[in-house]
Symmetry: C2
């Protein structure tokens, strides 16, 4: 049908990552392919309306593609959202964001997955890569042990921090700082501080391997884990905490930038659809 052709076109447009460098695009495609290989059969096709899968601002300086796939009923995956955002800046350079995030259902307590690459100049890049905790790590020290200590997740952060180009990044949002795990990679990468001569090299040699390893761990040990069958009261706890995480994340992450990037009308349309999924 013409409708499914249009869906294929939209998926192709999403997979194009048209505004980022070749290593950046390759990384995103490799991550999406890992998702597909490992849990593709547990995911529905993207069900977003076509004008939410791809959209731009009225003046044509900003555009974006979103691809959201919900988990099938029997899976532990709530949904996976991939996307890219492009915006020409008044300075002449561009803002390019690519992201991949995944939320699990309250039938498991395993961490969510979060990755975001934010490039606002040719020589610098912000990377956020984390398995977001579902439980208060103080009240549930066993959770900290199981998912973060025993798994040695911190090694990925440590590896990136050996690069002279890498410095810690502090999100201006205290909520974002609070929601991340103690092993979160949240760094600024600045060319000029080290030996590598461009961001593409760092994406290929350093960010890529780390992102792929963290995602693979999440796919194997979180998205497909059998171990964390949770009881009713834990389920309620997870559902309530996830409800807050999702609504606050969409507010802080997209709610604040989308109106600025795409105008109020487009932002309202896209956000109202995403909120249905985030508050489901």
């Amino acid at each position: 049908s013409s409708s499914s052709a249009s869906m294929d076109e939209l998926r192709a447009k999403f997979m194009e990552f048209p505004y980022v460098s070749a290593p950046h695009k390759d990384l995103m495609l490799e991550l999406l392919s890992s998702v597909d290989n490992r849990i593709g059969s547990s995911l529905q096709p993207c069900t977003l309306p076509t004008d939410v899968q791809h959209f731009g601002n009225p003046t044509g300086t900003a555009s974006a593609s979103l691809h959201l796939r919900s988990g099938v009923v029997s899976s532990q995956i709530d949904f996976i959202l991939g996307g890219w955002i492009h915006c020409k800046l008044p300075s002449g350079s561009s803002l390019n964001i690519t992201s991949l995030s995944a939320y699990l259902k309250s039938s498991t307590n395993a961490p969510h997955f979060l990755m975001e690459l934010i490039q606002s100049s040719p020589n610098s890049l912000i990377l956020i890569l984390d398995l977001t905790p579902r439980k208060d790590l103080i009240l549930y020290l066993d959770y900290l042990k199981t998912y973060y200590e025993d798994t040695q997740l911190d090694k990925h952060r440590q590896r990136l921090h050996t690069l002279p180009e890498v410095t810690p990044y502090f999100s201006p949002s205290l909520y974002i700082r609070s929601v991340l795990s103690p092993t979160a990679v949240i760094v600024n990468i600045d060319i000029g501080a080290g030996e590598k001569t461009n961001i593409e090299e760092i994406i290929r040699d350093d960010i890529g391997p780390v992102a792929k390893e963290v995602l693979q761990f999440w796919l194997d040990s979180c998205a497909c884990s059998e171990r964390s069958v949770v009881g009713e009261s834990e389920k309620c706890y997870l559902a309530e905490r996830d409800r807050i995480i999702k609504s606050k994340t969409i507010e802080v992450d997209l709610g604040s930038s989308f109106p600025r990037l795409f105008g109020q009308e487009v932002a309202d349309r896209v956000l109202s659809v995403l909120k249905e999924y985030y508050n489901a």
Copy 2:
């Protein structure tokens, strides 16, 4: 009596901070004097046994003073612990730690106070300064707003991070990273990276003002706050979370280093007394 004379001597020994630089000692004395001025009347005298107030290792290379004052029954203060630790290192230099921490009762939900200065070489220093959250900041976003966002606590961290000598410090303990607030100052200060020529200068000009301001805020708005009278279920929540914080903090912070510094026998004696207060 001879016993109270001995108590005075032990207090004097604690207040001596004999192994740190003049600005470092001055800062500690100023902080202790702020505590005394603002909440001294709510605190009992130190009730630690004399051999826990001051002790050393058998070979005489390590010594320490601890000064712990419990809050009177009517106050919201559980206890305040000040201390210094000195240890000669095989390298020839010394390890010097000074600290001030304060825990509140579950009749208030206001944050605890934590400050630690760790100097293991003449040219570098680790500073930990925080108001430790009592509640999960995700499940209780209003708590994050009240104590961390509306108070602009992050400005202190930001101020220190403008110094070229300052870089973020990552505790090897994921528990320590998790227990701190998103506005925690947890930094490494290294001479050689900037314009200041010694650590003393940075303590006097930069760390001092920030530490005094954060402590004053804690004294005025947390230790003496009337606003946070909590209900029974919140009280239980706070009590349980505090119980975990205290027992884990003593395990990670002191339990791992004391046997190494002072030998097992002294460490056991001191820790068993402290545990009574920490688990109270």
